[in-house]
C-alpha cells in the first residue's frame, strides 16, 4: 500500500461506484482481443472504457496524466508487444511512454501504480479480463486520486 490510500472522503456517493479505468488499445491487435472478451460474454467492470489507436507507441504521456487528473482512477495500456505491424521496437517505445507518464504522475503526486501496461493480442480475451479485474481491485484499494 502506498501513501495515497484514501485519506480524503470519496466523492459524493453514486458518482464513482467503481474505479474508472481508461484503456488505450490498438485497432488491429489488442482491440480485437478486447472485443473477443465481449463476444465470449466475459465480464469486467463497467468502469473500463477503451480508446483505440493504431499503435500504443503513439500515446502521449499527457493523455495518461490528463485522464488521471480528469477523473479516471487508472490507465491501462493494452499494447501489441511483438505483434505490432508498424514498429519492431513497439514494446520498448510503449514502455518508455509509460515510464515518462509515471515520472510525470509522480511529480503530480499520483501513484504510478495507477498506470499499467501489458501486451494484449487479438485473442487475449481472458488475459485482458483478468488484467482489468485485478487492476480494478487494486485501484479500489488505492482509492480515488488526490487531486
Amino acid at each position: 500500500m502506498t501513501a495515497s490510500v484514501a485519506t480524503e472522503p470519496r466523492p459524493a456517493s453514486g458518482t464513482n461506484p467503481v474505479p474508472r479505468i481508461l484503456v488505450f488499445s490498438t485497432n488491429n491487435i489488442s482491440d480485437p482481443g478486447i472485443d473477443l472478451a465481449g463476444s465470449s460474454h466475459m465480464h469486467y467492470s463497467p468502469g473500463v472504457r477503451v480508446i483505440g489507436l493504431p499503435c500504443t507507441s503513439g500515446i502521449r504521456p499527457s493523455w495518461i496524466v490528463g485522464a488521471l487528473q480528469a477523473g479516471f482512477d487508472g490507465v491501462f495500456v493494452a499494447s501489441d508487444g511483438d505483434e505490432c505491424a508498424y514498429l519492431h521496437d513497439c514494446s520498448k517505445r510503449s514502455s518508455a511512454i509509460v515510464a515518462a507518464a509515471q515520472a510525470s504522475m509522480r511529480e503530480r503526486g499520483i501513484d504510478p501504480q495507477r498506470l499499467r501496461l501489458a501486451a494484449i493480442c487479438s485473442v487475449c480475451s481472458e488475459p485482458f479480463t483478468k488484467h482489468v479485474q485485478q487492476f480494478s481491485a487494486a485501484l479500489a484499494e488505492l482509492g480515488p486520486v488526490q487531486r
Binding site: 458518482t15 464513482n16 461506484p17 467503481v18 474508472r20 481508461l22 485497432n27 482491440d31 480485437p32 478486447i34 472485443d35 473477443l36 472478451a37 465481449g38 463476444s39 460474454h41 466475459m42 465480464h43 469486467y44 463497467p46 468502469g47 472504457r49 477503451v50 480508446i51 483505440g52 489507436l53 493504431p54 499503435c55 507507441s57 503513439g58 500515446i59 502521449r60 504521456p61 499527457s62 493523455w63 490528463g66 485522464a67 480528469a70 477523473g71 479516471f72 505491424a85 508498424y86 514498429l87 519492431h88 513497439c90 517505445r93 511512454i97 515518462a100
Partner: protein, 617 residues
Amino acid sequence: MTDQLVPAQPTPTTAVMEPPLADAAGGRRIGVYVCHCGGNISDYVDVEKVISDIQDSGDVVVAKTAMFACSDATQQDMVADIQAQGLDGLVVASCSPKLHTYTFRAVAGRAGLNPYEYSQVNIREQCSWVHTDDREAATAKATALVNAGISRTRLTTPLEPMVVETLPHTLVIGGGVAGLRAAVGLADIGLRVTLVERELQLGGWVGGFGAMYPHGRDGHELIATLVAEVRRRPAITVLTGAEVVGKAGSFGNYLVSVRIGGDGAAALEIAVGSIVVATGFESYQPEAGELGYGIDGVVTLPEFKALVDGSAGAASGAPGAAGSAASGSPLTWHGRPVRSLAYVYCVGSRQPADVEGANQYCSRFCCAATVQTAVQVAGLDPSIRQFHLYRDMRTYGKFEPLYTEARKTGSVFLKFAAEEPPEIRREAGGGLTVTVRDLLTERTELAIPVDLVVLVTGMVPRANEELVNVLKLPAGSDGFFNEIHPKLRPVETVVDGVLIAGACQGPKTSAESVASGLAAVTQSAAILKKGYTELDPLVATVHAPACTACGDCLTACPYDAISMSEGPDGHVAVISPTGCKGCGGCVPICPENAIDLLGYTDAQVSSMIESLVEVPA
C-alpha cells in the same frame, strides 16, 4: 408457412426528437444512431436513455435508436437524415468497428458526407456483452462512449485518400537467377525494367552450375534460357558492370543513380517506381585450417560441384577426352583418382553461438545439394566410396527422395555432434584421414581414409556496404537483408517499394530464389500496375509553427517518412504523407507536441477522455 405466424418484432422505438435547429455559427451538425442489435445491446443497455442523455449535447442534430443499425432500412434512414438535415458528422453506436466500419463509411459516402466524418462507437462487444449483469452501469458507460464518439466527431475534418502516381518501371539489382526471372516477370506484366549487374556477365551462381536438384536441370542452361528471354523483351534494359550509387524520392517515384564502369565513371539517372534487390549470396570461405581447409584434397562444396559437373560433362560429352581416362577414374583431383571421399556438413553454418561472429543459421540448401552431388558421383562411378558426416539431414519436403537415393547408391551416413566435429589430416602416405565419433553406432570413433574431403560450405551474406547505405536496407542479425515481416511479407522491406528477392534475404535453393524473385515482381506490380496507389489519409502531420527542428522525430520513424525542410521561418520537420504508415510513433517523441496523427489528434483524444470519464447525472 408457419413463419408468418410469428408476430412482427415490436417496431424499434425511434426516439426522433425535434431536431434542434442550426446551432450557433460554426457548430457541427452531427447525427447519432444507437443500435438495439435486436436485444444484443438493448437487453442490457437502456438505449432510449442513452439517446435522451446525449440528445442535448451540443451539435447533435439527429439522435435515434435503430433495431439494427446495419440494416438496409436504417442505412437508408441515415442517408436521408444526412441529406435532409445537412449533417456533417455521423456517429453510429453499435458493434465492433471491425464489423461495420466499411458499411458506415459507405453510408456516409452515399449521402455525400466525407467518410472520415463518421465515428464508430462499440457498445456491444465492449459494453452490453461484458456488462450483462448491470444494466444501469452499462447504460451509463454506453452514454459515455457515445459522448466520446460525439466529441471526437466534433473535431473531425474531411479527409481524402492520397493518390500516389507510380512509374511503371522497376529497377532490378542483380543478374542471377532471381533477378533475371524477376526482370522477365516484370516485363511480362507490362512494366519496364532496368537490370543492373555488377559483374560483366549475367548468371550469378546458378550460371556456374551443371545439374541441379531436384529436377536435374542444368544451371548453365537455365541461365541461358533466362538470358535469351531477357533479350527478347524490349522492355528490359540490361546494364552490366554497373552499380547503384544513389537513390532519391519515395516509393512509386524513385530516382536512382547507376554507375557503369567503375569508380569515377559518370552516373546514369533512372526514374523507377520500385526496386528489386536480388544481389544473392557468397559461399562460405573456411578459415585456413578450419576442418583441414588448406590441406590439398580438402575442398569446398562449390569447388567440388564444379569438379563433378566438369567430370560429368567430360564423361558424357567426350569419353576419354579428359585426363580421367588415364587414371581409370571418372573423378580426379590434381591428377589423382578419387576412389573415396567424405563430406563434412554444416561448415560455416549452425555455428555455436559462443563463437565470435558465428553463423548460427542453417544454410538450407546444402544438405540436398550434397546428396544430389553424391548421387551424381555415384552415377559417374558407383564404386566410389562416399561418407557423409552430418548433424541433421535436412532434405526437407520433396528433397527427401534424394537422400533416400543417395543411401541406395551406396553413400554412408555418419552423424557427429556439434561439439565434436570431425578431424581431418593428411597422412604421410598422401591420403587423407577423417576421424569422427559416430552417434549412430554407439559413438564409435571411426578413422576413415579418403582421397578427398568436401566441406559442405553454406551461404553467407554478400558484403555490399555501398548498396546497403544507398538503399538503407536493414540487415538481420545473420547479416542477410531483413524483410518487413518474415511470415507474411517476406519480400518487402521497411523501405516502401524496395523489395528483396533470392538469397540476399536468406539461404534459398535456385527454385526458391526464382519464386521469391517472382514474388517481388508481384509486389512491384501491386503498387505499379495501375499507375497509382491509394493511401490511407490517417497520417501524422507537423504543426509547423511549433516545430523547433530538434530532429528527434527523424530518428523515431523507421520508415524515413520524416525529413527536415527549409521553410520560410527556418527548418521544420516535414512528414511525407506517402511515406507515413500512420502509427503515431513520432507523436509522443516530439518535445513540443507539434505532431498530430490525423483521426487521433491531441484535441480529439483529450476530448474523448473528458467525455469518457464523465458520469451522467
